[in-house]
């Protein structure tokens, strides 16, 4: 076993454990952690089975196997970022609706108050 393989196994295991810990402490919701777990697992699998990376590189026609690693990393990160943009868009829509409803309710309450005072 190479040095680099030991390091990468340790690295990806720690990363995976770190994600699990965040979920257990409720600092990360399960539905937002799935992509992270998926990416981390792929890295762990590729560090344990080194031939897997060469097999994948061969499959997509990349001559230099480590470049395939970068590709996988990039695809994973882009997927997570798009996922985040989606969540942000949803949140900002919900936020907008909340702001509007609060403003309408505030007017309703102040009108009721004024109505009661005038009675």
């Amino acid at each position: 076993m190479d040095k680099i393989q030991i390091y990468s196994i340790i690295g990806s295991s720690l990363f995976l454990l770190f994600i699990f810990r965040l979920i257990r402490r409720r600092e990360l919701k399960e539905e937002y952690s799935l992509l992270w777990l998926f990416v981390a697992s792929i890295f762990l699998i590729l560090s344990v089975f080194r031939s897997g990376l060469e097999w994948f590189a061969d499959l997509v026609g990349i001559h230099y196997a480590p470049a395939a690693l970068l590709l996988i990393l990039l695809v994973g990160v882009v997927a997570i970022l798009i996922h985040y943009s989606k969540i942000i868009s949803k949140l900002s829509e919900q936020n907008k609706i909340l702001i509007q409803e609060i403003a309408l309710l505030k007017l309703k309450i102040s009108e009721q108050k004024n109505g009661r005072e005038n009675e």
């Binding site: 907008k96 702001i99 509007q100 609060i102 403003a103 309408l104 505030k106 007017l107 009108e111």
Partner: protein
């Protein structure tokens, strides 16, 4: 016929009082709803001072789209027959509202847009050269997408009937909503009509769009218009059962 005038206002303390007085003078029966879009100045205070307007204060700044949509929600909840969209910055002239109402009262249209460019040599403020080019581009896009000539896509001086209010209360674009709303309405078979109106140049404060922002504005709006065109038609209530 109950008419609600929706006046979006963001930091308009210098303009809002005269705008409201202008609307009041045009017709005493209009209910005026000022949407104070998280202003940091005294807009809310000035607007509620005379008691002529209902002031709906958004706790945060949402931008013009979110503010106007709040007005539609208010009009929808309170069963208004017609909603007028009227800018709080003094650009629009309240005496022209009657022209917008006419096609709605005659049942000729569901949405009426006040245009500065409908006829050649129209009176009043007609914006800068660069902006007119932008507006021309939107006109072409509208013609392609919904096969209608809309000469002033960016105009925020509009009138909507009940059917349109109901739809817009739950589906109104956020960022720079005016051109996109036209596609949304056209795509869903609302009848749109333009009438020629006069506008003023704003007196206090600065316009929200200029410089580099205008390039962003054009790209964003064109993207939004294309997306609005490519989206599926909204389901009406009857279809939902």
């Amino acid at each position: 016929m109950r008419v609600c005038v929706i006046v979006p206002a963001y930091n308009e303390q210098g303009n809002i009082a005269s705008t409201l007085q202008d609307i009041r003078n045009a017709n005493k029966d209009f209910v005026i709803a000022v949407i104070n879009d998280g202003s940091t100045d005294c807009t809310a205070k000035v607007a509620s001072k005379e008691g002529i307007a209902k002031v709906i204060s958004l706790p945060c700044n949402l931008g013009i789209g979110g503010a106007v949509q709040t007005g539609f929600k208010y009009a929808n909840e309170n069963n208004f027959d017609i909603a007028i969209q009227f800018d709080g910055d003094g650009q629009h002239i309240a005496a022209e509202i009657q022209k917008l109402l006419e096609p709605l009262l005659q049942c000729e249209a569901d949405a009426v847009i006040g245009s500065r460019f409908l006829h050649k040599n129209q009176q009043g403020f007609r914006s800068t050269f660069m902006r007119r080019i932008g507006i021309k581009i939107f006109e072409i896009i509208c013609r392609v997408f919904i096969r209608k000539r809309i000469s002033d896509c960016t105009s925020g001086f509009r009138a909507y009937n009940k059917k349109a209010i109901e739809m817009l209360a739950s589906n109104y674009p956020t960022d720079f909503p005016e051109p996109e709303a036209i596609i949304l309405l056209g795509k869903n078979h609302f009848r749109i009509k333009e009438v020629a109106v006069e506008m003023r140049e704003r007196i206090h404060g600065k316009s929200s769009i200029g410089g580099l922002k205008s390039a962003y504005y054009m790209i964003k709006v064109i993207l939004a218009m294309s997306m609005a065109k490519s989206r599926a038609q909204l389901k009406t209530r009857e279809e939902n059962g």
